[in-house]
């Protein structure tokens, strides 16, 4: 029973990693770059949700779509202002750029007087509800996280698999120039992908908020989502979730059975082992580079 309890709480934590990793994978799949700002976008999303509920007085069901839409606008704006001018530059430049975006957004949130430096609780309706299932205690927060993640993953997977926009995004990622020649509006697609990634980040932020509270450094959890994305294979949407689950469960088990301190680095040990054994991840396509 202890083990099942650990598995459930690990899975809930893993779903958060998976959701942030989904953002990485979305941007990676469509633009072949890695966004280090994903964790910070999540933080901004959580703060927007907080602003809607605690300060503007929106009810929960209105605050969620409002903050998701607001984050879509933020993602769109970020792409438009800083990413688009350097479209086509080496991936390294864009990585540095997203690190810069992370710094700026964290700094800007901290600068909001009276709010930015404090820790807040997000008043969600399902707070403090727990189900007892034969000795097992299931917190509603954890169940909501697992459910929403599964649904979101299915929707995104279907989008990339069946819609024209999704297939066009994959084409643009494999070869920008060829995609241009085939009449794919690469720039517009990029903006869409960033908006989508920001929306996913907002969902992750809202789900995480009841567990860890809302504060300016909550985005640092994004650093744990990298291992999740790598374990799943960087280009695979279901892989991101599975990777997140693996990392979350390993962490939760390591925290209980292994000495103190191992929990914090368990994710990184897993990713190093993964890179040595299977660099392409569990679900990544393995393609040889040809001349």
């Amino acid at each position: 029973m202890q083990l099942v309890q650990l598995l459930v709480s690990g899975a809930a934590q893993g779903c958060i990693y998976g959701l942030i990793a989904l953002g990485f994978v979305l941007i990676y799949k469509a633009t072949e770059t890695v966004s280090f700002a994903q964790g910070d976008l999540m933080m901004v999303g959580a703060f927007i949700g907080l602003a809607c509920m605690a300060f503007a007085g929106f009810p929960f069901w209105l605050a969620v779509p409002a903050s998701i839409v607001a984050m879509a606008a933020v993602g769109f704006g970020v792409e438009r202002i800083v990413i688009r001018p350097i479209l086509g530059e080496p991936a390294f430049s864009i990585v540095m750029l997203t690190i810069g975006i992370g710094y700026v957004s964290r700094g800007l949130i901290t600068m909001i007087p009276g709010i930015g430096t404090k820790t807040h609780a997000l008043p969600v309706p399902y707070k403090d509800i727990a189900f007892h299932l034969g000795g097992l205690v299931l917190a509603a927060e954890q169940l909501v996280i697992i459910g929403v993640t599964a649904a979101l993953c299915a929707v995104l997977y279907a989008m990339f698999r069946y819609t024209r926009a999704g297939i066009a995004m994959q084409a643009a990622s494999q070869n920008q120039l060829a995609a241009y020649y085939m009449g794919i509006p690469v720039k517009r697609l990029n903006a869409m992908v960033w908006a989508l990634a920001a929306m996913v980040a907002a969902v992750a932020g809202l789900l995480l908020a009841p567990i860890t509270f809302v504060h300016a450094n909550m985005g640092l959890i994004g650093l744990k989502a990298f291992p999740a994305a790598v374990v799943g294979g960087f280009g695979s949407l279901p892989g991101a979730i599975v990777g997140g689950l693996v990392i979350g469960i390993v962490e939760s088990l390591a925290g209980f059975y292994l000495p103190e301190g191992v929990k914090d680095i368990a994710a990184y040990v897993v990713v190093l082992v993964m890179l040595m054994v299977r660099p392409n991840g569990l679900f990544g396509e393995s393609l040889r580079k040809k001349v």
């Binding site: 964290r106 800007l108 120039l177």
Partner: protein, 358 residues
């Protein structure tokens, strides 16, 4: 305008291409030595930090700027160097010996970290080094019998065969000597076949391999040399602060190092030192500017992050060659005085190609 008429190969690989180089770099060295006695103590200590970060920057420049492998865990090498030096100094080893050990151990760790680099590249390598950085930081915090854990670790003054380097001036001179030596070694390396091999790997792994470069060996060597330089910087850093704790070598320090080489200018030795100067000068400039801003902005905690982030974004967007690239443009403008054309350094339109399919 200056035309250099080359008559021999020696002239082609000379470190100082012409008299101007000799004069200006000679003057720089003289000024830096003179600074020991003329500059107030606070600014001297800032100069020392610039030299130390410059050495670490040289290491990262070799790896990221010249070999094209970028590391998000470079602070870990700094930490390994710092702790090795600290532990050995506490046992009374003479400084040259303990410094060599710090560099050697860092290099050995660098080779181990470089192992994944033989199989993965690009962002995967970044994540492997990131993971390694976290593991080292945690290890330093948990291995309490040696490192003192999170409580930190105090260092003794440097012992140079009986001569104690205790004053700020003598420590500055020591850093200056080591920085100059590291720079000369780096310049020398870069004009040797090994250095050319690094650049070849950066530009195209496949063509480097087909020219007979042993990829695995060269990449490991690059990691080892880079880590050794970071280890040297770490040892000096530990002595400069007299106190080390694991959180000085965390991910933010790694990102600072990366930010330093990008802002300085990737792929230039100057860039390491220009970036270090920037990194050290920035907090000073921010605290100077604070007084001019309205208190709501000037006193806010996040100001530094916003400024760092915006400067980084601005450099990537407008000056990808960094501070050194800006200087190159100014110098070219001065050299070509009336003939400088506006579009001379215009970036070519490029299209991104996938690393996955090529």
């Amino acid at each position: 305008m200056r035309f250099i008429f080359k008559t021999s190969y020696d002239q082609d690989i000379d470190l100082a291409k012409h008299g101007g180089h000799r004069f200006w770099y000679g003057l720089l060295v003289v000024l830096l030595v003179a600074a020991t006695w003329t500059v107030p103590e606070y600014w001297l200590s800032q100069l020392t930090f610039i030299l130390i970060y410059g050495i670490a920057g040289l290491g990262l420049m070799l790896l990221a700027g010249y070999t094209g492998l970028f590391s998000l865990g470079h602070a870990a090498f700094l930490g390994v160097g710092a702790y090795t030096e600290g532990v050995l100094a506490a046992q009374g080893w003479p400084f040259p010996l303990s410094l060599a050990c710090a560099m050697g151990l860092s290099a050995a760790v660098g080779v181990v970290v470089g192992l994944p680099a033989l199989r993965v590249k690009g962002i995967y390598l970044g994540i492997a080094t990131l993971a390694f950085g976290f593991i080292v930081e945690e290890g330093l915090a948990r291995w309490e019998s040696v490192t003192g854990g999170n409580a930190g670790f105090h260092l003794k003054a440097i012992d140079l065969f009986g001569w104690k380097v205790a004053s700020a001036e003598s420590f500055y001179l020591l850093c200056l000597v080591l920085a100059v030596a590291a720079t000369l070694a780096m310049l020398n390396l870069l004009r040797s076949p090994t250095g050319r091999a690094f650049v070849a790997i950066r530009d195209s792994e496949i063509s480097a391999q087909s020219m007979g470069i042993h990829l695995a060996r060269t990449k490991s060597l690059s990691f080892a040399l880079s880590a050794a330089l970071a280890g040297m910087a770490g040892a000096l850093y530990a002595h400069k602060l007299n106190f080390i704790s694991p959180d000085q070598f965390n991910i933010l320090q790694s990102i600072d190092l990366l930010l330093m080489v990008v802002i300085g200018g990737l792929g230039s030795v100057h860039g390491a030192f220009l970036g270090a100067a920037f990194l050290i000068a920035m907090p000073q400039l921010i605290s100077l500017g604070k007084d001019w801003l309205p208190p709501a902005i000037g006193q806010a905690a996040g100001l530094q992050g916003v400024v760092y982030g915006s400067v980084l974004i601005a450099f990537v967007m407008f000056e990808p060659m960094g501070l050194y690239g800006r200087w190159l443009k100014i110098r070219t403008w001065l050299q070509l005085m009336p003939f400088y054309r506006k579009g001379m350094f215009k970036r070519q339109k490029s299209f991104q190609k996938s690393d996955r399919l090529k």
